[in-house]
């Protein structure tokens, strides 16, 4: 009796040994799905969760792919992907907290090269990317703009700009960088650095309202800088720079958190979560409430447009910790369709055939 009970105990323990030793070996085998015609949404994820992802919506299949980067490469985008742009035959994903730039094939999201942005063991934390004459210009939180040759994908130069630069844009043969100083709260920066790409030096520094973040240019010689202010006593403000004389020709309060120029319009998201349109020729707001059919977006996060079709893409971050959406409107502000994306959909890139 006693022996039987002991042996049962030992068999049970042995079974547990076996149970405990089998565990699944997770190896994601990459599967490449070629895509054309559609749009990419870069989802930031949450800082420290390594859950930045790349969604793709195909206009042909009308189906979303939840993380095309992961399926194509067998590894994740990393932590807090902040910007995505297509230039030439490559697509560039700027991953802020992982401090990398993923250069991929725009039709498959398959990795061509991963550029690590480090100074020794200190992460530079890249934010935004812009392109001019075969070079990519990347702002980083270490107060620099890195110049990357898009053919060799090597960093050729580093230019020192202001504090915590965010976005940058190209206009009239020059690079304009918005220096937010944002992480140094409450000691914001309030400058725009103007870079001459031929000498790779800052030729001029302009003063705007504190905490400039979004910077974008139109085809009429204007560079728009949206400053966030201090979220309290100093409200958000829009500065317009003449890209010939490099002078701030106007600075006025402007209710927006996101501002971007596509074609002859600028699209913006107000601080209260509304969507508006600004005409860059007449220099006036043409639609203070773009959405015409009452579609409610919980937390509009990023906005872009298709210059040809006039369609407007607005992402919704919902409660910042769950899956978001992208709403696609026609040029009259009527909702065409919506699709589910990842957490904190921060940037959209349109893939043209």
């Amino acid at each position: 009796m006693k022996n039987l009970k002991l042996s049962t105990l030992f068999t049970a323990v042995a079974l547990l040994f076996i149970l405990a030793s089998c565990h699944k070996d997770k190896n994601v085998t990459p599967v490449v799905t070629p895509v054309t015609d559609g749009f990419y949404t870069l989802n930031q994820g949450l800082q420290n969760d390594d859950n930045s992802s790349l969604s793709f919506y195909s206009y042909t299949t009308k189906q979303p792919i939840s993380d095309i980067f992961l399926s194509a490469n067998g590894r994740g985008v990393g932590d807090t992907g902040n910007d995505i742009e297509i230039y030439g035959s490559k697509m560039y994903i700027v991953v802020n907290v992982s401090s990398t730039i993923e250069v991929v094939d725009p039709n498959t999201a398959k990795s061509i090269k991963q550029i690590k942005m480090f100074t020794g063991t200190v992460a530079r934390e890249p934010r935004d990317i812009a392109f001019y004459k075969g070079n990519a210009y990347v702002t980083s939180y270490d107060g620099t703009v890195a110049v990357i040759d898009t053919a060799t994908l090597a960093i050729t130069q580093n230019i020192t700009v202001g504090s915590y630069p965010e976005q940058l844009t190209v206009a009239n043969g020059k690079i304009y960088v918005a220096n937010s100083g944002g992480l140094n709260y409450p000691n914001y920066d309030n400058t725009v650095s103007v870079i001459d790409p031929t000498t790779a030096t800052v030729t001029k520094t302009l003063t705007v309202v504190i905490n400039p973040q979004d910077i974008t240019a139109d085809a009429n010689g204007n560079v728009y800088v949206l400053s966030a202010g201090n979220y309290g006593t100093i409200p958000s403000s829009l500065a317009i720079i003449d890209d010939n004389t490099d002078v701030v020709k106007s600075q006025a309060n402007f209710d927006a958190g996101v501002f971007t120029v596509v074609g002859s319009n600028a699209y913006f998201i107000t601080n209260e979560g509304g969507v508006g349109v600004y005409n860059t020729t007449t220099q006036a707001i043409t639609k203070s409430n773009f959405i015409s059919d009452g579609t409610a977006i919980t937390t509009p996060f990023t906005i872009t447009a298709d210059a040809t079709s006039g369609e407007v893409f607005v992402s919704d971050a919902k409660n910042y910790t769950s899956n978001g959406s992208v709403y696609v409107f026609d040029k009259t502000g009527k909702l065409e369709y919506s699709t589910t994306v990842g957490v904190n959909p921060g940037k959209i890139a349109l893939l043209k055939k």
Partner: protein, 674 residues
């Protein structure tokens, strides 16, 4: 003959060698007296060490003689296997560990140290890895509240309570001191010597000093499955250096009149490895902690049965967080200091032989300072009053209490939160359905809340914003039974408890990022519904020819879903970090002075964010540990040497996203009692 012996004693009383001679004299010399004393043959009286499971609310306990069997060095290790417990472990020796009981967040569990709460008004979460078991007699987890109705009001003010009881000296005039010296060493470069000194001063006074030093480099290898790497990486910046000294003074005139005083100092300096960021393995964050507290308790029982319990606590905590690797010119050097004064008075009285009532009142002042921009420097005043009633009616036992909580705050800058008062009732009952007292049915209903932390109310609440975060309410309904049987054949005893529960959380406190990336808005948004079962089985065999077997099995089932808004994409999805099934087993055999024990913990998968989808999935895992314990003697002094292997099968897993857990590790322990 007796006179000769007395003469010898007088001449040689101070000479040990001759004392030995005295002892060698035949015993019957001393026994030759004219009165009727007889030397009785020694009889060993022992009962089965059946654990106490028939508490009014579910409880699970682990005592110091079992710490070794579970390889428990901290409170987190001690309660890891308990049913209903889910430890959120950030990995490694210095890794932060918080406890979630029955799906409630860490803020809903109160930790009592000898009856007085270890409070953190700043962020409400106690890091259990900092609570070392050195000097601890017992750790008990109670759902709802502890059994004793003579207790500080704070014991009634949380959804669950973990009660830590320290070792009280049990010394005699013949042996007025005891020294315990030991060392733990092993993987992670761990060196951990400790010393306990208990000393009897007189019939009524004694003291105990517990101290330890811990140093470890904390390094371990891990596998990152997200970044496509094949090789193992190493966790760095994980060093830990901490020390603690606890001095306790005890006075006991008799069992109905006692007093204790503790002074405790804790100091730590550690590296924070941070989350494993894909493609960015560097971290240079550091954390310093300096805590000191003074607490005292006085208990008095009068002849008429009236009992009084007084508790006082004064504490101060200093924290410094430094990030050298912050981008740009930013240097993050955050410093906080927290002070608390706490006083509690409780009275209990038997109104009739079967009706006992108690009343307790607690007063506390917490103040918090931080070097944050435009910090509020809040002071919080909390007043708790609780009335408890316990009635026994034949087979029934009813217990109820009504707790009133009053909280008000003051600030140096900005706006204070409005004062509020909340009434929280609790009802409990037990029923003995059969003649035998072995089976007991129990049920309870508890309506309690957790106060928003000072960080939630004030941290970066700028521009005159008064967050006015409301309390997060937790309602619990429980129904269960306990079965215990002392046996006499193969098994020594068997105990089994099973409880089913239904809990709700309303006004869940959530942090939402603001436009300003540095600050966040804290709001009450969220409803959670939890259903689950906790089952625990404990059994032990009799000792046969020196052989004995032990077995303990715990099972947790938790179905906890978000029911805030049907429009949410995660509506009715399992809430983050809550695995549906957890199974824990501890079994072993001992033969005379050697024991071999095996521990197995199995956890099902969980999600780290609200949506239950592939992107947020964290794999389930199983962790096995093995312990070998050998008790022996060195010059008649009891000693123990033990070896432990943690994560025997080198399982690669993580409990918290981006915080991988260590693989196989070893600890060797040695302890001697003088």
């Amino acid at each position: 003959m007796a006179t000769i012996v007395q003469h010898l004693i007088k001449r040689f009383w101070c000479k040990p060698k001759c004392l030995l001679l005295l002892l060698l004299l035949p015993l019957h010399l001393f026994a030759q007296k004219k009165d009727t004393t007889k030397n009785l043959k020694e009889v060993n009286v022992s009962t089965s060490s059946i654990p106490k499971v028939q508490t009014v609310t579910p409880s699970q306990s682990i005592s110091s003689n079992d710490f070794d069997r579970y390889n428990a060095l901290t409170v987190a290790d001690a309660i890891r296997d308990f049913a209903g417990v889910n430890i959120k472990d950030y990995g490694g020796i210095g890794g932060f560990k918080t406890v979630s009981v029955r799906g409630f967040g860490a803020n809903h569990t109160a930790i009592l140290y000898d009856g007085i709460e270890i409070n953190d008004a700043e962020n409400g979460q106690i890091d259990l890895s900092k609570l070392n078991l050195n000097g601890v007699q017992q750790v008990t987890l109670y759902n709802a509240q502890p059994d004793d109705i003579l207790a500080a009001a704070r014991s009634f003010a949380s959804a669950s309570v973990i009660a830590i009881k320290t070792i009280q000296p049990n010394l005699t005039a013949n042996k007025p001191y005891q020294i315990l010296a030991g060392m733990n060493a092993g993987s992670f470069g761990l060196i951990n010597p400790y010393l306990q000194w208990e000393q009897r001063i007189s019939n009524t006074w004694s003291f105990a000093i517990n101290s330890y030093l811990e140093n470890a480099n904390g390094h371990y290898k891990f596998k990152n499955t997200n970044d496509g790497s094949d090789t193992l990486q190493t966790r760095t910046n994980t060093d830990v250096s901490d020390q603690q000294v606890d001095g306790a003074l005890y006075w006991a005139k008799n069992d109905s009149n006692k007093f204790n005083l503790h002074i405790n100092y804790y100091n730590s300096d550690r590296g924070l490895p941070g989350a494993v960021i894909d493609y960015n393995p560097y971290s240079d964050e550091r954390l310093w902690n300096k805590n000191i507290f003074l607490q005292s308790g006085y208990e008095h029982t009068w002849n008429n049965g009236l009992k009084l319990l007084l508790n006082t606590k004064l504490s101060q905590e200093n924290i410094r967080y430094l990030d050298n690797d912050a981008p740009g010119d930013l240097i993050i050097d955050d410093r906080y200091n927290q002070r608390e004064f706490y006083q509690s008075a409780a009275l209990a009285y038997h109104l009739t032989s079967n009706w006992e009532a108690s009343y307790a009142t607690d007063v506390s002042f917490s103040s918090l300072g931080a070097n944050a921009y435009e910090y509020a420097y809040p002071t919080r005043f909390t007043l708790l009053n609780v009335l408890v009633s316990k009635l026994t009616l034949q087979k029934w036992l009813f217990e109820g209490n009504l707790l009133d909580t009053y909280v008000t705050e003051q600030v140096k800058a900005g706006k204070p939160t409005a004062a509020k008062s909340v009434l929280s009732p609790t009802l409990m009952a037990t029923f003995q359905p059969f003649k035998s007292p072995d089976i007991l049915l129990r049920a309870f209903y508890k309506d309690i809340f957790r106060e928003p932390t000072l960080d939630e109310q004030y941290y970066f609440a700028l521009n005159g914003v008064s967050r006015n975060v409301k309390p997060e309410f937790a309602k619990q309904y429980d129904l269960g039974f306990t079965y215990r049987k002392a046996l006499n054949d193969f098994l020594d005893y068997i105990t089994f408890t099973a409880d089913g529960y239904y809990n709700t959380i309303t006004n869940k406190i959530v942090a939402i990022p603001n436009q300003n990336p540095v600050i966040s808005s804290i709001i009450n948004l969220g409803n959670v519904r939890m259903e689950g079962t906790d089952a625990a089985l404990k059994t032990q065999t009799q000792t046969f020819d020196g052989w004995r077997g032990v077995l303990s099995i715990n099972y947790t089932y938790q179905y906890a879903i978000d029911v805030t808004n049907p429009g949410d994409s995660y509506y009715r999805d399992q809430i983050p970090y809550t695995p549906k099934n957890i199974f824990a087993l501890n079994t072993g055999v001992d033969y005379n002075h050697i024991g071999l024990y095996y521990n197995q913990l199995l956890s099902s998968s969980r999600y780290f964010l609200s949506n239950s989808d592939h992107a947020n999935y964290i794999d389930g895992y199983g962790v096995s540990d093995l312990s070998l314990i050998y008790k022996f003697q060195i010059d008649k002094l009891p000693a123990v040497i033990s070896g432990h292997i943690n994560n025997l099968f080198d399982e690669s897993y993580e409990v918290v996203r981006s915080f991988p857990m260590p693989g196989r590790s070893f600890i060797l322990s040695f302890q001697i009692t003088i």
